[in-house]
Symmetry: C2
Subunit: 381 residues, 2 copies
């Protein structure tokens, strides 16, 4: 096992320099920056590359110190020497999504047409666009096919989109805690978050970059509302119950009497330091628009027709945002498409967030699947 | 069956005029107004009175035209001649809760100490305080015991509090879709709503009554966030799914492309016309603080020890805000206290809101329970 030094550096590459990349909204985007981190070494055959797709508020720092928060990468427990995504064997790539705010071009970057930040002039991005941009990164890295594409939540949506749009470029795919289309309830929660941002006068129609006032309060509320949905009722009860925060008795006021209130406020306040409010609008919108069923004439199986990709679908029993029933629909479609698929519902009370947490059954499932896929791919031990 | 004319009028009575009423927070409140509506006639024995307790955003207009919205009362389908709460037989009373904004004294009323609206100087109100104030109304009406106390959601909490605090004044009790203590998840959702209000600069620390700027945007966001929790995933899917609003295709923008977005925005915008933002803070806080278990040394059964009240507990299978498991805890405690209790989980996909909707199984359950209770009480047909 090699000992790799901490790897904080983001690589940057300008993509679609000569030919602008078409977007689903009908326009194009050209010469955009893609920020990505890599872990491990690409082998000579270029057959050991894993693409990790991040979730709504994630970034490319999957296993590196996040430069704003100073915290470990969001999938540090999954990626590294000897870990599930073993960097002694695999070359792991994680890029910030198009429309994001950690380096890949997004609404806070300069619009070459005006010389000012895009704001709401940034084109609406879809999950398809995010994946199209990642495919340009794949070309740039001269990787013919990913050994595996993997991700949870919106990362799982990207994984499904990859397998559907570029089946020949994806040897195996692990969509976790996701859906083939965003539900009405989830659109509703996203709309609440967007309205919270837009209700903040400091948002200024999205044109706040040159201003001292930033829509921090609105974005914090959006984050708080979303955060409740990431946890299960059982996890909230176990972690907080009705416990009071640093006090013996109720204060009969609007302070954070309860630990759960204090926790939520902390989540909201911390988020705004590392995330751009407009990116939050764009990325939630991308998730709302995701609908592989509609994209394939109402039959999800058509999204995966003739696919040679090996699939492993993972869901969590207490995830009510992307419940197991949604993953089952994906699995049924894959079976109908005669694809190679395995499916595990992990028993946990941790809710949707389980994919980001110490979840041994998930680790074991993914490790086993990767080992068998590596064997099929002819990757030596 | 008598034909009663539409009854819009609120009665008003000043309570606690001579002796201020103690509040759970440790202070007192004196000479406060209580606004209430009545339907039907009180019989000579004063034995046919039903107290209807309203939910978070409800009011006394249970079966009267709401003067601000012009809409029918929120329980119009339950209350009236020949209906479940049959006004040919029963005298139905519904009062606006203490801390409310439809006539009963609340944060937008004048603080006699300053001559200005209370705002955040209004004392924190609990469910216990709301019920204590209703008990003063009961005294005023010279009704020794309610034939029945009934309510859904926060109305159910008041119903439980009534039965616990004043067992001899409650012949029968119907708590619907509620809990004996507010869960961590529900406190979390309330905190999101409060933070949305408080994040609105027009809220001005609660001192906005004399100002042109009102925290409408923040309150609308709070209402939207809450509204998602009142519906089930299944109901949202059935009603809206991913249907588009008055358009054939996605617009690739932040307009309300989806019907569910348009519906939510409508809910938010309409709410702010009829509700005071500070009342929203106070009443959500009252629900958060509700904990009959803690109030009785950790044993819920003690809340109902020796009770002669007849109980009928109703829950809804798709209610995830106050799930059936919470109602079961109430029923188990009542059984442990040797109380007379029946329990029905109504099968419906309508979510928490089912108690406000055409839900035939709920109607039938309550009607049957009231008939048998009326017989026990010696109320003639």
């Amino acid at each position: 096992m090699s000992i790799s030094p901490p790897h904080n550096d983001t690589h940057n590459v300008i993509l679609a320099k000569e030919t602008p990349m078409p977007l689903d909204c009908g326009t194009t985007i050209g010469a955009f920056n893609m920020a990505y981190c890599t872990y491990g070494e690409l082998n000579a055959e270029k057959s050991n590359a894993i693409l990790v797709c991040h979730a709504l508020t994630g970034d490319q720092y999957a296993a590196s110190r996040q430069p704003v928060t100073g915290k470990d990468g969001w999938w540090n427990m999954m990626i590294g020497p000897g870990k599930v995504l073993d960097t002694d064997k695999y070359f792991v790539v994680c890029s910030n999504v198009l429309g994001g705010c950690m380096g890949t071009t997004g609404p806070r970057d300069i619009d070459p047409a005006t010389g000012k930040p895009y704001g709401l002039n940034f084109p609406i991005i879809t999950i398809g666009d995010m994946v199209r941009a990642q495919a340009l990164l794949q070309d740039y890295l001269e990787i013919e096919s990913w050994f595996c594409v993997i991700g949870g939540s919106m990362g799982g949506m990207q994984t499904l989109q990859w397998a559907s749009a570029y089946p020949e470029r994806v040897f195996s795919a692990i969509p976790i805690a996701c859906a083939a289309r965003h539900s009405a309830q989830n659109i509703a929660f996203h709309e609440v978050g967007r309205q919270a941002v837009m209700a903040d006068p400091s948002w200024q129609g999205g044109d706040y970059y040159a201003s001292d006032a930033k829509p921090r309060a609105g974005l914090a509320v959006a984050r708080m509302a979303a955060h409740v949905t990431y946890l299960s009722e059982a996890a909230l009860h176990r972690k907080f119950g009705r416990n009071l925060q640093d006090r013996e008795n109720l204060t009969y006021g609007f302070d954070a009497d309860f630990q759960v209130e204090s926790y939520l406020r902390y989540q909201g306040i911390n988020f705004v330091d590392r995330f751009d409010a407009n990116s939050y609008l764009y990325i939630t919108r991308a998730m709302d628009y995701f609908d592989l069923v509609e994209d394939h004439g109402g039959t999800l199986a058509k999204a995966f027709e003739g696919s040679n990709t090996r699939f492993c679908s993972v869901s969590f029993s207490s995830d009510w945002l992307f419940p197991t029933s949604e993953n089952r629909k994906i699995v049924h479609a894959l079976i109908a498409a005669a694809a190679n698929v395995s499916f595990v519902e992990v028993e946990t009370d941790k809710g949707h967030d389980a994919f980001l947490l110490e979840t041994p059954e998930m680790f074991k499932t993914i490790q086993g699947f990767l080992q068998s896929s590596a064997k099929s791919r002819g990757l030596g031990e």
